[in-house]
């Protein structure tokens, strides 16, 4: 079958690329979930990056710092990598090593990479890029509900009567979901959009709340307070299914509509209307993304949404729920597979006795019970951390405060880069391991609504390229041999999936490859007869008490606020035509449609600076400057400039600051202070 799963975003669209020689003739979409024949520009026209001239085609090693990368055989490169890792492990212990599995790779590959870290290196310094996108959501959802994913399936969009969309530019970043929601709105559903920018969703909304950047939390708390004041909350639900209500309620005292209007810039009548609509519409679903999470109060803001949904009894019901739209194709899967410093596969806490028993039995090796460092903390910990095994990621483009990150990488004694394409991080590598793209291997991705879907080998890998699972397995084999530890070797991805089923029978037990032939299956799916759970938490939450918990959260200012020298707020994000660090999309046909960085500047700010549309401009923060083309538009509000971070030659993350959320350790990508300078 020529069918596979789109490698871009978390929607997980099913695609049927028609490949001839070294090009893709066309991409069609089958009429099955989740996309039912629809695609966006990335899935339709952007799948040709595997044919890019920037493919890494053979292994390379750098014998010592300062020497150039030279071509090596697989034997050489893997031996070298294993030797260096063992040397650090022997000299400094497990705490000096970190492994970053990739949310772009398959479940099987993520599982194997975190297993390598835990079983062979004994480290829990394991993390993936969700640290930079939805770690705030997963932190809030985990502690309140005991589960970190969308609570409702995408099909529920057709049953939803009110959408509360907060900080999600859905039509550009999850376009097929955006189109579904917009169609439901055309059928008569209402949509409240909370966003500083006039996005496609704001345009399609029935009520747009244009908050000032970073004030969503205040707005959400004020909505909750007003719902309580008006008596519109679901008392029966709160009493039967939640705990911590009284303490949380008391924490809302300061969040009046008047204060909310002053702080967020949204008229209090609109806030009251939004509150009434959300509280009184039974099938009201909350959807959110980076506008909520990428703040120093990201966890608190996601929590405010969780609290609001619990107050109005929206969780565990059809057409409603709490729905974080996950970014990467397999970011849900990467979390599920345990690419996190505090949990094993299946979200079993590393310190949990039952978890330790279960996985020590399965892996036949003692496990480290101490949670590891998170991704942003690992980079900070260089050179205490001496070696990083980095898979499918370009931190130089995606981490904040680029100059600082580069300085850290320069001081890192040993870096393994395993990737499909050359990117900004490749030059820092001591070993380069060339990996197969999504077209060149088998496996599974798990999409944003927990659907496990097949990835199929449709094309032989070029050069000496090998799939990630093979590379990790071979590296593991060498480490295991030297350490005298167990390491199971598999023929292929299906064998690895069978081990995952064995590890997580409650979650994945009913999902096997033959079943996935026709279409994807959602977890939890405990048996082969089980259809896969659509709506989570219908009866009980996945907490020890079975109840969901309110947590009081308070508004704090962003880490960096505008000043005289830096009077504007910079918000970073994405555009329809590109993907994150640009490694994929900028090496595809998409590049032609959107070749360079454009920053959105409000016409009033442009006028003050004498800036015209299309004119080059410098964007300058305390950490650096980049050159861009000005796009003068009222999509962005006065005082706010918006820059996508896809462009390595003009990296928005040179400007952002590395202030982190205290709980999730996510960087504050959505707020930093900048000024614009004319280019003369």
């Amino acid at each position: 079958m020529m069918r596979t799963t789109c490698p871009y975003c978390g929607v997980g669209c099913q695609v049927e690329p028609e490949i001839q020689g070294n090009r893709i003739l066309q991409v069609l979409a089958p009429d099955i979930p989740p996309n039912h024949g629809a695609l966006c520009v990335k899935g339709r026209f952007g799948l040709d990056f595997p044919f890019s001239g920037k493919r890494l085609l053979y292994p390379m090693v750098r014998e010592r710092k300062g020497a150039p990368l030279r071509r090596a055989t697989w034997e050489e490169a893997l031996d070298f990598a294993a030797r260096r890792l063992l040397e650090v492990l022997g000299r400094r212990g497990p705490e000096a090593l970190a492994v970053f599995p990739s949310a772009k790779t398959t479940n099987e590959e993520v599982y194997l990479a975190q297993k390598l870290a835990r079983v062979l290196l004994g480290t829990n310094h394991v993390d993936h890029c969700a640290r930079l996108c939805h770690s705030s959501s997963t932190a809030a959802l985990n502690r309140s509900l005991g589960g970190a994913s969308m609570t409702n399936p995408l099909e529920d969009i057709w049953k939803t009567d009110l959408f509360l969309v907060v900080g999600s530019n859905t039509t550009e970043t999850h376009p097929v979901i955006g189109a579904m929601i917009k169609k439901r709105v055309r059928q008569g559903a209402q949509m409240i959009v909370v966003d500083p920018r006039y996005t496609g969703m704001a345009e399609a909304s029935t009520l747009w709340l244009r908050v000032r950047p970073g004030t969503d939390l205040f707005l959400l708390n004020a909505i909750a307070r007003f719902i309580l004041e008006e008596g519109l909350w679901d008392r029966a639900y709160v009493e039967a299914r939640t705990e911590g209500f009284a303490e949380w309620r008391a924490s809302l005292e300061a969040y009046t509509l008047e204060e909310a209007e002053r702080l967020t810039g949204v008229e209090k009548e609109k806030i009251a209307l939004a509150a009434r609509l959300y509280a009184t519409t039974e099938r009201a679903g909350a959807y959110w993304a980076m506008g909520v999470t990428q703040h120093t109060k990201g966890t608190a803001t996601a929590q405010a949404l969780v609290n609001l949904a619990l107050l109005t009894g929206k969780v565990g019901k059809e057409g409603a729920g709490l729905n974080p739209l996950r970014g990467q194709n397999n970011v849900q899967g990467a979390g599920d597979m345990g690419a996190l410093p505090d949990v094993l596969p299946g979200y079993w806490k590393v310190a949990d006795q039952e978890a330790i028993r279960r996985f020590e039995a399965l892996w036949a090796t003692p496990l480290n019970p101490d949670p590891g460092l998170r991704m942003t903390e690992v980079y900070e910990a260089i050179p205490e951390v001496e070696a990083i095994y980095l898979i499918g990621e370009d931190p130089v483009t995606s981490e904040p405060h680029q100059d600082h990150l580069k300085a850290k990488l320069e001081r890192l004694p040993f870096l393994i880069v395993q990737d499909i394409l050359e990117n900004e991080t490749t030059p820092f590598a001591d070993v380069v391991l060339p990996a197969a793209s999504f077209l060149e291997k088998d496996g599974t991705f798990t999409n944003t609504d927990r659907r496990v879907q097949r990835v199929r080998l449709l094309l032989d890998p070029p050069g000496e390229v090998r799939p990630d699972w093979w590379i990790t397995q071979e590296l593991g084999r060498r480490l295991a041999q030297a350490l005298g530890r167990p390491w199971k070797v598999y023929e292929g991805p299906e064998g690895i999936w069978e081990e995952i089923r064995q590890a997580l029978p409650e979650m994945m037990g009913g999902i096997n490859y033959p079943r996935l032939e026709r279409e994807g299956v959602r977890w939890p799916c405990p048996s082969e007869e089980h259809p896969g759970e659509a709506v989570l938490f219908r009866e009980r939450f996945n907490t020890p008490s079975g109840k969901a918990r309110f947590f009081p959260v308070h508004f704090t200012s962003p880490a960096e606020t505008p000043s005289e020298a830096y009077p504007l707020t910079l918000s970073t994000g994405r555009v329809l035509f590109h993907w994150h660090g640009g490694t994929l999309s900028r090496n595809s046909r998409l590049q032609e449609a959107y070749p360079e960085l454009k920053v959105e500047v409000n016409p009033k700010d442009a006028q003050r600076l004498g800036l015209t549309d299309g004119e080059p401009v410098y964007v300058v923060s305390r950490r650096g400057r980049i050159r861009a083309k000005a796009w003068v538009t009222d999509r962005t509000p006065e005082g706010v400039v918006y820059a996508p971070f896809h462009f390595a030659e003009a990296p928005a993350n040179r400007l952002t600051l590395d202030a982190l959320d205290p709980i999730s350790r996510i960087p504050e990508y959505k707020v930093s202070a900048v000024r614009l300078e004319k280019v003369d």
Binding site: R23, A29, D31, R44, F45, K182, L576, F577, A593
Partner: protein
């Protein structure tokens, strides 16, 4: 609910379209664009009246005939005129239907043809070759109410001059087009094609 199709009794759920219970050729109909009732290829005889199967709900006791002599002649004529006015070289499904209904376009002699149109290539992703367009409207509906809600395509003109295009005939990059290509996927005649299919 029960009704009869070509003399055979069939079962239908309430609200089902005749299309779901009777096998008839279609052109404009598409489940996701929700286009219906334009091409007339799916006309059937229901209780003696001619109705489009894609836009008519089944009713209890209905007597449906799908292949009467009259219907066959109508489909044959419709297909012949499509073939006379448009380039169907990349519409294999329509060519198969012409075969099935014994279409002989040449029997009409010279007819006024659709205005010749040049292939439009105004973006990096797909081309518009309206000489191949049969005005089924699927692309317009995929872009608009049916799927995307973007409305970058519209139907302009009347009669033989009718054709889909962008508002004010603007190049696609100057419209709200998001280049999802869903119009390309639903196009039945190759009037919209990915550039990647072009050789060279």
């Amino acid at each position: 609910m029960r009704l009869r199709v070509n003399g055979k009794e069939v079962e239908a759920r309430p609200g089902a379209l005749l299309l779901e219970v009777a096998e008839v050729p279609t052109l404009c109909h598409h489940p996701h664009t929700e286009t219906r009732g334009l091409c007339r290829l799916c006309l059937v005889e229901a209780d003696g009246r001619l109705v489009p199967a894609c836009a008519t709900e089944a009713r209890e006791g209905m007597e449906v005939r799908t292949e009467t002599e009259g219907l066959r002649t109508l489909r044959k004529t419709l297909l012949e005129w499509l073939a006379l006015t448009t380039d169907l070289a990349q519409a294999p499904d329509l060519l198969a239907l012409m075969e099935r209904y014994g279409a002989e376009p040449e029997r009409w002699g010279e007819v006024p043809r659709r205005r010749g149109r040049e292939v439009l290539k105004d973006n990096p992703f797909y081309l518009r070759d309206y000489a191949k367009c049969v005005n089924c409207r699927r692309c317009v509906d995929a872009c608009g109410d049916g799927i995307m809600g973007v409305y970058a395509l519209t139907l302009e003109g009347r009669g033989l001059l009718a054709h889909p295009t962008t508002p004010l005939d603007r190049p696609l990059p100057e419209t709200p087009c998001v280049f999802c290509g869903n119009c390309v996927q639903v196009c039945p005649t190759g009037a919209l094609r990915p550039l990647s299919l072009e050789v060279g």
